[in-house]
């Protein structure tokens, strides 16, 4: 565990909300359950109680980070021995700083441990997504559609579908170059959003806002052209 000398949450997510974001929920607070109250009190106490609480919190966060690492183990078999756990430890260290920095933001609307776990899962997921793309170039936009079966092959044009063809055309005519680049990378080429944010020196939240605006523009244009955009709900 690294010493707690500074408190900074890596701004993975910061951005303006999507334009159609529902009104932000009121910043309600709830009375803390006894276990959560004990966590918060001990983390605000003086030494040595606080030191012991921080050590327990780090254990909890490490459990969360290792859980995330375990879920991704199969896709990260190329890592050197021990590297996966090193990343989990680093994620737990960073999550600890984030939790302590945001302690005043804990509203008691969930258990404290649930609230803390999400920081560990975020830190671990972001690090592991980036690690899996560390030695890979983000594909260039040109040629992205050619990798989609049927999209560039006249022999399969009928199977490709009218709507998908219209989407492709509308992406070319209605989106800004930046919107198109982001949409192609995230939706067509499967680049993880944290990886693209890193390469473009922006944040995940800002990138999602761009993606959201591009999708809304596409939907507007296609609806105006008479296309039925009811795709049903995504399968879980």
């Amino acid at each position: 565990m690294r010493p707690v000398t500074a408190a900074s949450l890596t701004p993975h997510l910061m951005a303006d909300p999507p334009a159609d974001e529902p009104a932000a929920p009121a910043p309600a607070r709830a009375e803390l359950d006894p276990a959560s109250r004990a966590w918060v009190a001990s983390l605000r106490a003086g030494a040595p109680d606080r030191d012991a609480a921080i050590a327990r919190l780090h254990d909890l966060l490490l459990r969360g980070a290792r859980f995330e690492a375990g879920r991704r183990r199969d896709s990260l078999r190329f890592l050197r021995p021990g590297e996966l756990d090193d990343i989990a430890r680093e994620a737990a260290d960073d999550a600890l700083l984030a939790v302590l920095r945001h302690l005043d933001d804990f509203r008691g609307l969930s258990r404290f441990t649930t609230w803390a776990y999400k920081f560990a899962l975020l830190e671990a997921a972001v690090k592991l997504r980036k690690r899996s793309w560390q030695d890979r170039e983000v594909p260039v936009e040109a040629g992205a559609w050619e990798a989609v079966p049927g999209a560039g092959d006249p022999a399969h044009a009928a199977e490709f579908g009218d709507l998908l063809r219209a989407v492709r055309q509308t992406m070319d005519t209605a989106l800004t170059p930046h919107q198109r680049r982001v949409l192609v990378a995230l939706a067509l080429q499967g680049v993880p959003i944290d990886v693209l944010a890193d390469r473009l020196s922006t944040t995940r939240g800002a990138l999602y806002k761009t993606l959201h605006d591009a999708r809304r523009r596409l939907r507007r244009e296609l609806a105006a052209a008479g296309y039925d955009l009811d795709l049903g709900r995504e399968a879980p």
Partner: protein, 74 residues
């Protein structure tokens, strides 16, 4: 290419139709949302728009699924 694969690609390109929260709000509310889900209640009643965001944002979906699985495993 099958219709199913077309639909999946279209969903990725067009995103959810319903209004959605952004990544930051999703993170802020994720713990409450998952706990409500695990009680069997409809989490959309407490955080409207978060489900649509999970449909449109694979990264937030992964983190949601991990938190849910972690809590369920405890």
């Amino acid at each position: 290419m099958t219709d199913h694969r077309n639909d999946e690609l279209l969903r990725r390109l067009l995103g959810p139709a319903a209004p959605e929260v952004g990544c930051e709000t999703c993170f802020d509310e994720l713990d409450r949302y998952v706990e409500v889900e695990l009680t069997g209640r409809d989490p959309e009643t407490v955080v409207p728009g978060l489900g649509a965001h999970l449909d449109g944002c694979p990264a937030c979906r992964e983190e949601h699924d991990s938190l849910r699985a972690l809590l369920a495993a405890e």
